[in-house]
Symmetry: C2
Subunit: 440 residues, 2 copies
């Protein structure tokens, strides 16, 4: 084995994932060198931090001279060949990534918000400068879905994805299902376990999943997508009664990202709480795990499952991307560009169709169900069932929930119908909608 | 997009998978060219067949001048840059692969028997000639497990795999479970559906799965493994009563490949019918699907699921490997070598431990259970339960089954005990053993 020169890495950010990358290179760096037949020797050359004085929790001590608080050091130091962006956010992170690319330094990032919101600009710079952005860690942590799309499924038109790609939401829904917790209690538990941030908004409102879905769709369909074109709703409105109702019908409630290319080429992309058959393999995705089912025209149905977040799983993907970037440097030839070779358009959510479960909060008086049913009929929406769970503690309660199961129809019809239903004086708040997905 | 010259492929074999490769390149060749930014244009230059007169079932007509019955044409024709071996077997296939490598032509193959039995020789030629063998299609069809191990998990020590990697067996066990079919009926059904060969031996006796397990272990642990070091038993002895018994305890019966590296570095590798908890995600792998769960030290638990066989899924992997080989040619730098950088040893199956379910076919007389229990005790094997299902049609039958559930112990203890039990005159045939696996 020849002793190759080491390749310097500039780490921007040294929080959970950053120190995971350090630890992984400490423990498994030699393994990587062996597996690349001696050609890849990685070394962390610079670490950008906010606070030099902060104590670091790593395997082995990090030499203090590696730390800097000035991000420009990572760009200017010739020892840094690859820049790893792990600071999060979309402003400083943008500046660092753009500057690195312009300096011809390949970038590795796990920043899904940055790529979902400003990816079009960054991927353009990447192509211009022939310098790649690797982002396996941005979608579903340790799951190698990006690389599989780029390499393993390169001979496939991708028909669809369905994914559980937010671990926090999956944990909360799981606890509501298995232990009958209400949303607030399950969320608090997730926060206590470190599965949810102090501000859990992006996780529970569906936007974290939407950012990942956007990246998957961009990769599969080769054109830039505006986040505003994705329909997103989160899990904040889910109640134990919804989950119980689903269970009685043989369903499990999951926050699902659905991406699908229609025959006319238009791409559907949305994130919503959904009923899925409990026999579907996605129903077996428990705890904080993620899973992405991919349907390709050649490979058929395929599924990837694993830890979608956390220090080590995310570090695993970052390190794999660093090795890929190092290989690109050795060969003066990179892979992993986003080609944007295809042009395409998004299908408006109003034109996407499934069956639905809708819960209405109503004032209990004779005629309520008839009034709602009438509006639905006016919009040509078929009803497959309706149910008003009786509160055993208060069977004559004035305010109750009424749920409707609706036949498949375009979401636009439902939206128009619900806008009218909301105006009925017996309806007290915005109806809550779940998709009923028939997968694969 | 620049018009790159096309890269000629020599297909050895034009059966199910070979014509799937042709069809995929016909339908998705342009997509591949787009996705590689115009750099990869693939063309089938030569096709080796046994019988020139045989009708071909492909999309579009295959020009007759492509066909040859002489494999040396693939090696000698300068238009052939990549050789794709799909003829199966371990003799002619060996000659073709070895000759292609020696001629500096990268090889793509889906031939697991060839690589499991003669891989050590071929990988040595590959290293000598700096010419790669790509074999994604050899393990679990369309599932990108090989590439993920080589690239995405490169920074991981792999602790273990547990896999359902024979679709035929999984289908048969599934039908026995869901429809209560007996083994013979389920096998016939699988054959009728094309899921099992006329001679299903390699599928049902576990050796097809063992070949794949050997390749996974070789990749993960970097040393050549002799198939004789793998303990293999198949599903021919499984009866509906076993499955029902498992079900009552909360288990599902699967043919599992288990690979695990122990703390001393020794590698356990075996294929056996196994009880797994029905809550484990592998229990949700139905029909002919395959799944491989991988546990890496950094990534944690990860699972790949998809179609493990069939024309298109296998062609998807072959085509991805062809693209990889083409890229290696363009860059004069290949990836995907088997490094054999690590040395290692196999752990004898006698030293692998799990709990067990063992079924004995006995002559029904007082004292039988006591005699068996005594032998087990002599070998320090704990019993967690024993049961003799009564035949309702013949409650006083002379020959009955007795099952024992045994505590975790080394398989060697069990083997020695069973050798003694077999000598008891009340025991009529070789006991049937299932592993009870506690996964992840």
């Amino acid at each position: 084995m020849s002793a190759a020169p080491s390749i310097g890495i500039g780490l921007a950010g040294f929080g959970t994932v950053g120190s995971g990358v350090w630890n992984t290179l400490e423990s498994n760096g030699e393994l990587i060198t062996n597996r690349t037949d001696g050609s890849t020797r990685l070394e962390i050359a610079r670490i950008l931090v906010r606070d030099l004085a902060k104590a670091r929790n790593t395997t082995g001590e990090v030499p203090s001279e590696l730390f800097t608080t000035d991000w420009k050091t990572l760009i200017e130091d010739p020892a840094v060949k690859i820049v790893v962006e792990l600071i999060g956010g979309t402003t400083d992170a943008y500046d660092i990534v753009a500057a690195a690319l312009k300096a011809g330094k390949p970038v590795v990032t796990g920043n899904k918000a940055l790529l979902a919101e400003r990816g079009a600009e960054l991927f353009a710079i990447s192509r211009e400068t022939k310098t790649p952005i690797h982002f396996e860690a941005a979608v579903a942590g340790g799951i190698p879905i990006i690389r599989s799309l780029q390499d393993s499924f390169i001979g496939n038109h991708i028909h669809s994805f369905s994914g559980i790609i937010n671990g926090t939401s999956n944990y909360i829904l799981g606890r509501m299902t298995d232990a009958g917790l209400d949303y607030e209690t399950a969320l608090k538990e997730a926060q206590k376990l470190g599965y949810a941030e102090a501000d859990p908004a992006l996780d529970v409102n569906g936007w974290d999943a939407a950012h990942k879905a956007l990246l998957l769709a961009t990769l599969a369909y080769g054109f830039p997508i505006d986040p505003a074109e994705i329909h997103v709703s989160g899990i904040e409105q889910v109640r134990p009664a919804d989950i119980k109702f689903a269970k009685n019908l043989g369903y499990v409630v999951k926050l699902l990202a659905i991406i699908r290319q229609h025959k006319d080429g238009a791409v559907e992309c949305r994130v919503q709480p959904s009923f899925i058959a409990k026999s579907n393999i996605l129903a077996s995705v428990h705890d904080v795990f993620n899973a992405v089912a991919v349907h390709g025209d050649t490979v058929g149905e395929s599924l990837f499952y694993g830890r979608g977040a956390g220090q080590n799983p995310t570090a695993s993907s970052v390190v794999a991307d660093i090795v890929e970037a190092a290989r690109g440097i050795e060969l003066s030839n990179h892979r992993g560009f986003l080609p944007y070779t295809e042009s395409g358009s998004m299908r408006p959510v109003s034109e996407t169709s499934t069956a639905y479960y809708v819960r209405f909060d109503v004032t209990d008086r004779p005629g309520v169900i008839a009034e709602i049913a009438r509006v639905l009929a006016d919009h040509e929406i078929g009803i497959s069932g309706t149910h008003s769970p009786v509160n055993p503690d208060d069977p004559d309660a004035d305010f109750v929930d009424v749920v409707f199961l609706l036949h498949t129809c375009p979401f636009g019809n439902l939206q128009r119908a619900l806008a009218e239903v909301e105006k009925l004086d017996c309806v007290n708040s915005e109806p809550v909608v779940f998709r009923i997905e028939s997968l694969g």
